[in-house]
C-alpha cells in the first residue's frame, strides 16, 4: 500500500492498462467472430456455428490452435527483422489505443480520481498519428525479412499504399482541427457539443462531410482492408507480406490488423461523430435510460434465444449471460439513472455504439466490394482522394478565416 500512495499515477495507469488490454484483446478476438458472422450472413451462409453456441467460442479455439501450431522460421530469413516485425505491428497497433478517451466521466481507482483514458495528452492526435505512422515498419520488415518473392512484393505494395494514403488521411483530419482549434481529444469532442436547429447534433461530420468521406476511405486503405487489401491479395500474392509467417506470429499480424481497425474507428468517432456525446438534446432526459434499457432488452433476447436453441450448451449458457446483462442493465437505470454509475456509463455507451457502427461498416464493405486493381488504387489515392482532401482543407480554411464557421 505504501507503494500505491507513493506512486499513485503509475499504479493507476498500470491498472488501467491491464483492464484496457484485457478488453481490447477480447474485442479483437470477437471482432473476428463478428466479421465472419456478418460476412457469412451477406453470403447466405451460417458462419462459425459449432464451437460453442453460435460459434461464440470460435475465437478461443482459433487462439489455442495458433499457439500449438509449429512455428516455422524460413532458414533464409533475416532472423532479427523477421522476429521484430510481428511484435512491432501488434505493439504499435495496441499502443495507439492508449490515447483514445472513451468518456467524459472521472472515475476513481484506489481512491485516485482518474479519467477514462490511459494517457491524456494535449497533443494526443499528433502522438496517435506518430505512433501509427511507425506501424508501417511491421509490414515492410515482414515483407523484406522473409527473403521470398511474394512477401517482398506484398511488403512493397503495402508500404507504397500506406505512404500514399497516409497523406490523405492526415489532410482530411486537418479540417476538424481547424474548426476545433486543438489537438486534445477532450477539446475536439467538447467543441462538437450542442445542437443545430434544436435537433441536429453539431458533430463535425456535417460541416466536414467531405473530410469524413476522405478519412473513411483512406482509413480502409491504411489498414489494408478490402477493397484495398492488395498487399495480401491471395489470388496473386498467396498471402502477401505474411506468407512466410506461421503459428502465433501470423496471429499477431492478424490481431494488429484488427487493432488498427478499432483505432481508426475510434478516431473517426472522436473527430467526426461527436465521440461520447449523445445524439439527442440534453432536455430529453429519457435518454439516460438507454444504456440500461439496451442491456435489459439484449438480456431478454439472449434468454429467449437460448431457451429456443437446439444446442444444449446454448440452452445452458445464454440464459445465464442474459441474466447477467439484465442485472448490469438494472444497475445502470438505478435512481432514475442519476446514480454516479449510471451517469459514468453514458459516455462509453455512446462511444462504443458509434465505434461498433463504424466497424460494421468496415465488415459490410468487405462483404460487398471487389478488390481494386493496383494502378486503380494508386491513381485513386493520388488523383482523386488527395485533391478532394486538399479542396476540403482550403474550403475549411477560408470559412475559418472569414469567421463563418459555426
Amino acid at each position: 500500500m505504501e507503494f500505491v500512495t507513493q506512486h499513485p499515477v503509475l499504479v493507476v495507469s498500470l491498472i488501467k492498462i491491464a483492464i484496457a488490454l484485457f478488453v481490447v484483446m477480447t474485442a479483437l478476438a470477437y471482432l473476428t467472430w463478428f466479421e465472419r458472422k456478418v460476412v457469412a450472413r451477406i453470403q447466405s451462409r451460417w458462419g462459425p456455428y459449432w464451437v460453442g453456441p453460435h460459434g461464440l467460442l470460435q475465437p478461443l479455439a482459433d487462439g489455442i490452435k495458433f499457439l500449438f501450431k509449429e512455428d516455422v522460421v524460413p532458414p533464409t530469413a533475416d532472423k532479427v527483422a523477421y522476429l521484430l516485425a510481428p511484435f512491432l505491428a501488434l505493439a504499435l497497433a495496441l499502443t495507439t489505443l492508449a490515447l483514445v478517451p472513451i468518456g467524459p466521466a472521472t472515475i476513481s481507482i484506489l481512491g485516485q480520481p482518474t479519467q477514462l483514458v490511459i494517457s491524456h495528452s494535449p497533443i494526443a492526435l499528433i502522438l496517435l498519428f506518430a505512433i501509427s505512422s511507425v506501424g508501417v515498419y511491421g509490414v515492410m520488415l515482414a515483407g523484406w525479412s522473409s527473403n521470398s518473392k511474394y512477401p517482398l512484393l506484398g511488403g512493397l505494395r503495402s508500404s507504397a499504399q500506406m505512404i500514399s494514403y497516409e497523406v490523405s488521411l492526415t489532410l482530411s483530419v486537418v479540417g476538424v482541427l481547424l474548426l476545433a482549434g486543438s489537438f486534445d481529444f477532450y477539446d475536439i469532442v467538447g467543441h462538437q457539443a450542442g445542437h443545430w436547429f434544436h435537433f441536429l447534433p453539431s458533430w463535425e461530420i456535417f460541416p466536414q462531410f467531405l473530410g469524413f468521406i476522405c478519412y473513411l476511405t483512406a482509413a480502409i486503405a491504411e489498414t489494408n482492408r478490402v477493397p484495398f487489401d492488395l498487399p495480401e491479395g491471395e489470388t496473386e500474392l498467396v498471402a502477401g507480406f505474411h506468407t512466410e509467417y506461421s503459428s502465433f506470429k501470423f496471429a499477431m499480424f492478424f490481431m494488429a490488423e484488427y487493432g488498427n481497425m478499432i483505432t481508426v474507428s475510434c478516431l473517426a468517432t472522436l473527430l467526426f461523430l461527436g465521440g461520447w456525446l449523445s445524439p439527442f438534446p440534453d432536455r430529453w432526459s429519457w435518454q439516460l435510460y438507454l444504456p440500461g434499457a439496451g442491456l435489459i432488452i439484449g438480456g431478454l433476447a439472449l434468454i429467449v434465444g437460448g431457451l429456443r436453441s437446439v444446442q444444449w450448451n446454448a440452452k445452458a449458457v445464454f440464459p445465464v449471460l442474459g441474466l447477467v446483462c439484465i442485472g448490469v442493465g438494472y444497475l445502470c437505470t438505478l435512481h432514475g439513472a442519476t446514480h454516479p454509475v449510471a451517469k459514468a456509463v453514458q459516455g462509453p455507451f455512446w462511444f462504443i455504439s458509434k465505434v461498433f457502427l463504424l466497424l460494421f461498416f468496415y465488415v459490410w464493405a468487405r462483404g460487398t466490394l471487389p478488390r481494386f486493381r493496383y494502378d486503380q488504387l494508386m491513381s485513386f489515392g493520388w488523383k482523386f482522394l488527395l485533391p478532394l482532401s486538399l479542396i476540403n482543407l482550403v474550403g475549411t480554411s477560408i470559412f475559418v478565416v472569414l469567421g463563418w464557421h459555426p
Binding site: 532479427v80 497533443i123 499528433i126 505512433i131 511507425v134 515498419y137 520488415l141 512493397l156 505512404i163
Partner: protein, 172 residues
C-alpha cells in the same frame, strides 16, 4: 538517481548503439533500422526536455516518413550486402583527422558547458521554463521565423519539381 536520469542514460545508450550499428551493419536494411532507433531515442530525449510536440513530430516525420521511404527504396532496389573495402586515401588522410578533431571539439565544449552550468547552479541560477506548448511554438514560427519557414517551403517545392522533371519520360 531520478527516473528522468535513468531514462536519459538508457536513451543515450540506445542512440549511441544505433549510431554505431548504422555504420557497422553490412545489410542496408539493418543500417536503416539502426537509424530509426537513433531517431526514436532522440524523440524520447526531447520528451524529457518537455518538448512533447517536437518529439511527436520527430517520430512522425523522421521515423514515420523519411526512414520508411529509405527502407522502401532499399527494398525496391533489392540492395545486397555491402562490400567492405579498405579506407580510401581521402578517408584516411582527410576524413580520419577531421573525425578526431570533431570529437575533440565536442568533448571540450561539453566539459566547458558542464563546468559553466555547475558554476551557475552553485550560484543559485536555474534554467527558465522552456516555451513548449504547440500554440507558443506556432506563434513563434509564423511571426518571428516566418521568413525561414517560407524559404524552407520553397526549397521543398523546388525539390518536388526536380523529382517531377527527373521522373518525366523522355519522349514527351
Amino acid at each position: 538517481m531520478s527516473v528522468a536520469m535513468l531514462v536519459f542514460i538508457a536513451c543515450g545508450l540506445f542512440a549511441v548503439l544505433g549510431a554505431v550499428g548504422l555504420i557497422l551493419a553490412r545489410e542496408p536494411v539493418h543500417s536503416a533500422l539502426s537509424l530509426v532507433l537513433v531517431m526514436v531515442a532522440l524523440a524520447v530525449l526531447y520528451l524529457l526536455l518537455g518538448a512533447a510536440f517536437i518529439a511527436a513530430i520527430q517520430i512522425l516525420v523522421y521515423a514515420g516518413a523519411v526512414m520508411v521511404l529509405f527502407i522502401f527504396v532499399i527494398m525496391l532496389l533489392n540492395a545486397g550486402v555491402e562490400v567492405r573495402t579498405n579506407l580510401s586515401h581521402l578517408a584516411r588522410w582527410v576524413g580520419l583527422p577531421l573525425a578526431i578533431l570533431f570529437l575533440a571539439e565536442m568533448t571540450y565544449s561539453l566539459f566547458h558547458e558542464y563546468a559553466a552550468r555547475t558554476a551557475l547552479a552553485a550560484g543559485g541560477a536555474v534554467a527558465g521554463p522552456v516555451p513548449a506548448s504547440t500554440e507558443e511554438l506556432s506563434m513563434k514560427l509564423f511571426t518571428e521565423y516566418v521568413l525561414p519557414f517560407e524559404l524552407t517551403s520553397i526549397l521543398i517545392l523546388i525539390a518536388i519539381l526536380g523529382a517531377l522533371v527527373l521522373a518525366k519520360k523522355e519522349s514527351a
